[in-house]
Symmetry: C2
Subunit: 366 residues, 2 copies
């Protein structure tokens, strides 16, 4: 379905979002990082995690459910590990801090991993893993989240869509950036099918009895998302296992909440979300140029592999997103009318000038 | 289908397999490790990676395609990383060495990761990750492998079933042990359905044109396995991304072969398989007892979650395998008649006494 949408260039949107957070008492640099994570999501075509989500963060700061000026503390440290307390700050602020520290420590010790407690929704996992790229490191990023997914053979949401991201530098080619929820699909995809009156493929979700269903309403109302793989027959227990792995590294290892105990986005209590980050120095293993040459080769070989009947292209993780970013940097980021009104409302309430309407265009979303 | 099978106790089988490798010139300790990895696979119910596979290793050693006495070397080292050349030794010997070194170094630096080149098929990934458990560490293990799996939208096998394993200690409960191929199923499951004249679920594999099919013969003959998730609609590109991640960490980072260039099991050339291992000290983050208490709690909460209609149990990764091990340690390991003849043949050729027939039993396999 195409819709008339407003378009805004990335820098203008970034500046507006940053001002919003500054008005809420978030320090300059932290406001900048938070805005950057949100706008990056839009640029990469992951609108569900972009500025469309801004109200959730704004509301929680206003209601003192998220600290605008968190006290982030390192609670324990070895040459290659960090335990961090996020002080109930914005997940973006806490995440960027933790990843920055991992990168610094990996420089000295080869690799470093951080497990983080007492944080909040951090946006796209890929933002943090990609921070490693310009340092010629492999970046890793994970987080647990509010429960939406049922374990295989269950009929209750016991964990979140717990994403895994890994970013790996290349040279002539774009970096390899995997950024995936461990559920088959996010809840947003179910909602889209429901609105359109379409069935969903079997394996995306289960109804209130835990039975896999193609009815999006049955999934949305009392039902659950299913882990990657879908049904048990199609190895959904592997996606379930990966989701629990993320929960252990992010939640149990840090002492954050885990499984069904992660706080709801609308709860008055802190969410106590946990994250896990890692940075691994390439040149601790091989000269950067040798590694990057092989990465370019592997990516090219995959791209050029014979295509299935009717297909014209084989993608490598991250390619679609980099292409989207390059397109949207040139054409501007399309804003859904609903998202635009949210921003307008915030602009009025917080007295931040909103000069982001640079025209309208008919934009087909991915 | 039930079949009359011979049963053997684990210790007897271990001793026989160890003798076989010793006769081939493998040093005492290395022969012990190799036998242990193979018998552990049988005990855990993963027969495809157990003694049923012994001939492949034996033949390659006899044909000088695998080194019986490899020169394993550390090529590069930082406080938390290791680059290891496996000297074309048995994957089990190289894998156990690399994981042992990771554990030693993690003791000093908090965490350590090893990328390994010039190795061979190492059996079950879970063996190495579980080595970390008794040290109160989280263990990680991955390997690339001979190509069997097509990328999403492809029609050529470009990478192996590239498994990921992570093992996490608990206290009152069994440890969490995820050990999963990044394909939906192993090739063995396709073969079983073909023999039985059954269709396979859509998503397990594709035919020679890369079109998902339910016909096991079309998958086996010129077709391919599909990555976890299955079709693109069901997010098979995520399994594809995970498989490439394993290939990067095991193959590209170490300088081993990667993607479609990993050597075939029947090639006269070295396979140059790559592995990736990691060990993370729990007490670098939290006191072991706090962590293990929370692990017990998470596992219990998942086990006790409400069950889907018609289901009686929710498993946590590793539970099925630990239960199988405990059962087979008590009852003996069932050996398929074909596997038994292989062992008999080896016993004669290598003059190793085979006294493993402790009776026959009708055994229902998982």
């Amino acid at each position: 379905m195409e819709q008339k949408e407003k378009r805004v260039d990335a820098e203008t949107l970034l500046s507006f979002v940053k001002q919003v957070f500054k008005r809420l008492g978030v320090p300059e640099e932290d406001a900048g990082v938070t805005a950057d994570v949100l706008v990056q999501a839009d640029l990469r075509g992951i609108e569900s995690h972009g500025v469309a989500r801004i109200s959730r963060y704004v509301d929680r700061i206003r209601q003192n459910e998220i600290e605008a000026k968190p006290k982030i503390r390192v609670l324990a440290e070895t040459p290659s590990t960090l335990l961090i307390d996020g002080g109930n700050g914005l997940g973006q602020v806490v995440g960027a801090y933790a990843m920055r520290r991992c990168i610094e420590k990996a420089r000295a010790s080869g690799a470093c991993f951080a497990s983080v407690r007492n944080s909040n929704h951090f946006g796209i996992a890929g933002y943090y893993s990609m921070m490693a790229l310009k340092n010629y490191m492999i970046g890793i990023s994970m987080t647990n989240a509010w429960r939406l997914v049922t374990p295989t053979y269950g009929r209750k949401a016991m964990f979140g869509t717990n994403p895994i991201s890994i970013a790996v530098p290349a040279e002539g080619r774009m970096p390899f950036v995997l950024d995936m929820a461990t559920s088959v699909v996010p809840i947003g995809k179910i909602e889209v099918c429901e609105r359109r009156g379409e069935k969903v493929p079997l394996g995306w979700g289960a109804d209130k009895d835990g039975i896999p269903t193609t009815d999006p309403s049955a999934i949305r109302t009392g039902g659950f998302l299913m882990p990657l793989g879908g049904t048990a027959e199609n190895a959904g227990y592997k996606g379930y296992g990966l989701a629990v792995m993320v929960d252990i590294l992010s939640g149990v290892l840090s002492g954050a909440a885990y499984g069904p105990f992660v706080g709801a986005p609308d709860s008055e209590e802190p969410c106590n979300i946990g994250h896990f980050f890692g940075a691994i120095r390439i040149d601790a293993f091989r000269p950067e140029e040798d590694f990057c040459r092989d990465m370019d080769h592997l990516i090219t070989v995959l791209n050029e592999a014979p295509k299935a009947a009717g297909q014209t292209r084989i993608y490598v993780a991250g390619e679609k997103e980099f292409e989207m970013e390059s397109k949207l940097r040139a054409e501007g980021i399309p804003l859904h009318p609903k998202v635009y009104s949210t921003l307008e409302k915030l602009a009025k309430e917080l007295e931040v000038p909103l000069k982001i309407d640079i025209g309208t265009a008919s934009v087909k979303r991915r």
